[in-house]
C-alpha cells in the first residue's frame, strides 16, 4: 500500500490585488496522481514556482485539495478527524532552521512533539534519545539550540519530527540555507533515516547532487509532473532538464561535455566511480 497517494490532485488559490479584490485564479498543482511506497526515498525537483512545495504541503494536510484526493497512510486528508493522525504519520521539515526550533534546550525541543501527542513521560525520554541518536545529535542534547550551526539545527528539527514516530518525513529544501558541511550532515542524516529506520523520505531540493541516491524522482513543471523515473533515467536527459530550469549533477554534466567532444560514454553517469570506470576503458 502507498504511504502517500494522490489522485487527480488540483490545488487552486485566488490571487487578490491590493484592495483585496479577486484578480484571477492560480492553479499551483494541476492534476497530479502519484503513489509513494512505504520505505522509499523520493525526490521532488522543479524550478521556483513549479508547484513542488504546494504539492508537499498536501502530504501532511497543511493544504487540502481543491479537487481530487490525497491519502496519507490510507487517510483522506480532507477528513478533519484524521488531521492530527496524518500530521503524526507524515512529519514535515522546512527550509529555515531558525523558524522551527522552540525549545531552550535541544532535548526539550525534540520532546515537544510527543508531549503534545500525550505520550507518557518515560516514553518521551526514550524517543528523544533515539531520535537524537538517529541524526547524530545526542551529544548536544543539553545544549541551547541558539549555539548550534545551521546543519545541527536542521538535524534537531528532523529529530523533533522523528520523535513523533512518523512513517514518512517530508523535507522542503532543508539544505537551502546551509553551508557545505551543514548540507552534507543533513543529507547524511536523512539517508540514514531512510536506510536504518525505514522511514519514507520525500525530499524537495534544488541541489541535484542530493537526489542521486533517491529511488524515484519526480520533476515538476507548471503544477504537473513533467518527468519521473530513477536518477539515471532522469539525469540522462540533460537538455530536457535544462529546459525545465534544472541541472544535472556535476559528474553527469562533465560526462555530457565529454560526449559533446566526441567521447563515447554511456548516458546518465551519476558518480565519480562510474565516470572513472568509463574513462579507463578509453585510456
Amino acid at each position: 500500500m502507498s504511504i502517500v497517494k494522490t489522485e487527480n490532485l488540483i490545488y487552486e488559490y485566488v490571487k487578490r490585488d491590493e484592495e483585496g479584490n479577486e484578480d484571477g485564479v492560480i492553479r499551483a498543482v494541476d492534476d497530479v496522481s502519484l503513489g509513494i511506497r512505504q520505505g522509499d526515498f523520493i525526490a521532488i525537483v522543479g524550478h521556483n514556482g513549479s508547484g513542488k512545495s504546494t504539492l508537499a504541503k498536501h502530504m501532511n494536510a497543511i493544504l487540502q485539495p481543491t479537487q481530487g484526493t490525497v491519502w496519507v497512510d490510507g487517510m483522506d486528508t480532507r477528513q478533519e478527524e484524521y488531521i492530527w493522525n496524518i500530521r503524526q504519520r507524515a512529519g514535515m521539515v522546512f527550509q529555515n532552521p531558525d523558524n522551527q526550533i522552540i525549545g531552550q534546550v535541544v532535548e526539550e525541543d525534540v520532546g515537544f512533539g510527543p508531549e503534545n501527542l500525550g505520550v507518557p513521560t518515560e516514553e518521551i525520554w526514550k524517543r528523544v534519545e533515539e531520535s537524537l541518536r538517529a541524526v547524530g545529535m545526542y551529544q548536544f542534547r543539553s545544549h541551547s539550540p541558539n549555539r548550534l550551526s545551521g546543519g545541527q539545527k536542521q538535524r534537531v528539527s528532523i529529530a523533533g519530527v522523528l520523535a513523533m514516530r512518523p512513517r514518512c518525513i517530508v523535507l522542503d529544501e532543508p539544505t537551502a540555507m546551509l553551508d557545505p558541511s551543514g548540507r552534507r550532515e543533513v543529507i547524511h542524516a536523512v539517508r540514514e533515516l531512510n536506510q536504518t529506520e525505514k522511514v519514507t523520505v520525500i525530499l524537495i531540493t534544488h541541489y541535484m547532487e542530493e537526489v542521486i541516491q533517491a529511488d524515484h524522482i519526480y520533476v515538476m513543471d507548471k503544477g504537473q509532473i513533467a518527468m519521473e523515473g530513477t536518477p539515471r533515467e532522469i539525469f540522462s536527459k540533460v537538455e530536457e532538464l535544462q529546459r525545465l530550469r534544472l541541472d544535472v549533477p556535476q559528474v553527469t554534466l562533465l560526462a555530457y561535455e565529454l560526449k559533446k567532444r566526441g567521447l563515447d560514454l554511456p548516458d546518465g553517469i551519476l558518480t565519480t566511480q562510474e565516470l572513472v570506470q568509463a574513462l579507463t576503458g578509453h585510456a
Binding site: Q95, G151, S181, H206, R245, D247, A283
Partner: protein
C-alpha cells in the same frame, strides 16, 4: 599590514587589523573577527567563503559601517570610516550591501517605486531618481513590462533582481552580495550570477560575493577569501584556493565537485590537471590526457 597613505587611496577599501568582539564585558564574549587585514582594489570580483559563523557576514557589515570594529581601522578611498567627521550615509550609498533573501525587504506597491526608494532617500531630485532606477533595473535584466507590477507577484528570481536593483540604484562603487542565489532553482542561480558578472565586466564595479556554493565561486570570481574562526585563512585565486581542499573540508567547506573528480581520475592513472575548477576546463583536460595516452601509450 599598514599601507602608506597614497597606496591606500588607490584601494577601494582597506581593512587594517580589525577585530570585533560581541558583548566584550559579558562572560560569553565572543571574538567574531580576529585581527583581519585586507585590501580590496577597485574593479575586482571577489568570493568570500566560510562556514556559518566563520565571521563572513560580520566582516561584510563592517565594510559599510553597519557594525563598528572593536579595534583596528577601515579606510574607504583612503579615509577612516570611523573618523568623527565621516559621513556614514554616504558610505552606505557607496558600499551597497544586499542581504540574504533581500526580497523580504521589498515593500513598495510596484517594482519601480521600490527601486526608487534608495536614491530618493539620498535626496536626489525626481528626474535623477527615476533615471537611476531605470538604469539599475536594466542592469539586472528586469524588463519594463514589470515596472508597474507588485513586487510580490514576481517569481523568486525576479524579486531578487529587483532587490539588487534597489541597491544598485544608489550607484555604489562596491557591491556586497550575501548569498544572492540561496533558494533559487539552478537556472535562476546561473541567470543571477551571469547578470552579476556582466554588471562587473561592464561597469568595473567591485563585487564581493558571499557564497556557500564552491561550484559558483569557482566559476565566477577572480579571487577567493576564506574565513574561519573570525580570521582570513586563505586569500588567493580560485585554482590555488581549491588546491587546499583537504584543509577546506576541515573548515566545513570543500572544493567544487569537479576538483574531486579530477583528483580521482589522477589517482587512477589519468594525467589530468587537478587544479582545474570548472567543468569546461575539466572536459578539455580529460580529452588532452586521453589523447596523450593514445599517442604514447600508458
Amino acid at each position: 599590514m599598514k599601507l602608506p597613505r597614497q597606496e591606500r587611496n588607490k584601494m577601494a577599501l582597506t581593512v587594517e587589523h580589525v577585530s570585533y568582539i560581541y558583548d566584550p564585558d559579558a562572560p560569553l564574549s565572543h571574538k567574531a573577527l580576529d585581527d583581519i587585514s585586507l585590501t580590496i582594489p577597485e574593479g575586482q570580483f571577489i568570493g568570500v567563503i566560510g562556514h556559518t559563523g566563520s565571521g563572513k557576514s560580520t566582516l561584510m557589515q563592517h565594510l559599510n559601517g553597519l557594525v563598528k570594529a572593536t579595534s583596528g581601522h577601515i579606510y574607504y578611498g583612503g579615509r577612516d570610516i570611523d573618523a568623527r567627521d565621516y559621513d556614514k550615509k554616504e558610505l552606505r550609498s557607496k558600499v551597497g550591501l544586499v542581504f540574504q533573501y533581500p526580497e523580504h525587504q521589498l515593500f513598495e506597491v510596484d517594482v519601480f517605486s521600490d527601486v526608487c526608494f534608495g536614491p530618493k532617500n539620498l535626496g536626489l531630485e525626481r528626474g535623477e531618481v527615476e533615471r537611476r532606477a531605470r538604469e539599475a533595473l536594466a542592469k539586472v535584466g528586469v524588463p519594463e513590462e514589470l515596472y508597474d507590477q507588485s513586487p510580490f507577484d514576481l517569481s523568486g528570481g525576479q524579486k531578487r533582481r529587483v532587490a539588487i536593483a534597489g541597491v544598485l540604484a544608489m550607484q555604489p562603487e562596491i557591491l556586497i552580495l550575501d548569498e544572492p542565489t540561496a533558494g533559487l532553482d539552478p537556472k535562476g542561480r546561473r541567470e543571477i550570477l551571469d547578470q552579476i558578472r556582466q554588471l562587473q565586466t561592464q561597469t568595473h564595479i567591485t563585487i564581493l560575493l558571499v557564497s556557500h556554493s564552491m561550484d559558483d565561486v569557482a566559476e565566477y570570481v577572480d579571487r577567493i577569501i576564506v574565513m574561519n574562526g573570525g580570521k582570513i585563512v586563505y586569500d588567493d585565486i580560485p585554482r590555488k584556493i581549491f588546491k587546499c581542499y583537504r584543509e577546506l573540508e576541515k573548515m566545513g567547506l570543500g572544493a567544487p565537485q569537479v576538483t574531486y573528480i579530477l583528483h580521482t581520475l589522477k589517482e587512477n592513472g589519468l594525467p589530468v590537471d587537478t587544479d582545474i575548477t570548472t567543468i569546461q576546463e575539466a572536459a578539455d583536460s580529460i580529452m588532452q590526457a586521453l589523447d596523450s595516452f593514445r599517442i604514447t601509450g600508458p
